[in-house]
Symmetry: C2
Amino acid sequence: MSGEVMVSTESILQAATPAAWVDAAVEGWRELLVDHANCEKKAASTALALIFAYPEDTQLGLALSRLAREELRHFEQVQGAMTELGVPFTRQKPGRYAAGLRSAMRTSEPGRKLDLLLTGALIEARSCERFRLLAGRLQAPLGRFYARLAESEARHFELYVELARVRAAHEWEARLRVLAEREAQLATAVDGELRFHSGPPPG
Amino acid sequence: MSGEVMVSTESILQAATPAAWVDAAVEGWRELLVDHANCEKKAASTALALIFAYPEDTQLGLALSRLAREELRHFEQVQGAMTELGVPFTRQKPGRYAAGLRSAMRTSEPGRKLDLLLTGALIEARSCERFRLLAGRLQAPLGRFYARLAESEARHFELYVELARVRAAHEWEARLRVLAEREAQLATAVDGELRFHSGPPPG
């Protein structure tokens, strides 16, 4: 990808993560780690779904295959961290974030493809923001691990934005603002579940 | 994984690939390369589906995440070969192989998990056999590429067999024979489509 993207992760997120989420996440780091493993799998699976949906777009296929490999490596690292820190796997109720974003996306082409790419960019941007926030609050080894992941997520964010920009030069910015508004609501409104992309806890 | 598996790819396949398939594949190498790219994506996606289905089996998750990464790297290499050899992407009708295998698999647990692992082993074993056959018949760079892939597929086959053996020590061999019988039919009966896992052409 070219280095032409000038948008930063912060500039596309329409609201910062509330301090109450960060406090809850630091307190509930074990629960969060289990959800984090799941998020890395889902990130790989989302990239793979895009590769399957647009097989004639070979540049997209190549870029997202590399991204999926990196997400899978992160998944393996999170599993390693769980073992190291004695955090067992538990089944968790899904959060509202992915379904909430999906409900804002267009379902027919060519809008669907653009929305999938922009939603990918938003999820990576939010992940990057939250890894940075947590990196400063959590002890090693988790703090260091999250700082490294923040850098990867920033690159993934740039990749998704670049894929969107090249494929919809005139529409991507306006559409990104629409989807970012929904994303900001989901990340900041009070939420009953603690998840990596949830809102702050009640009370 | 331990090195205890003594089964070779050849010993579990109940029928060798017919010479007529090899001749057709050498002749139709371009069509086959497009299907091959698709097979690598599907192999990654199948591994990922297993990781999602059995999240509490962390050893399986770790091993199949690594396998999925390798399949994705192969997908990128096949796309690179297509570009190098001037083979454009074309949409292809799906072959009968995957659906045919699926129809022989059990759909309720714990049989489903064992059948998914054994089917994975059979697909990798057949891929390995066919890459070896084609490596000796195709010119460089494709011949060399397929020879390297045959080695990877042999390792993947061993991994799937080992995962199955450890999880179902008393049942896996008998069940493998049942599934291998179906696989051998699909790989050897006359087939209207030329695919990486198809049967030989009519006539």
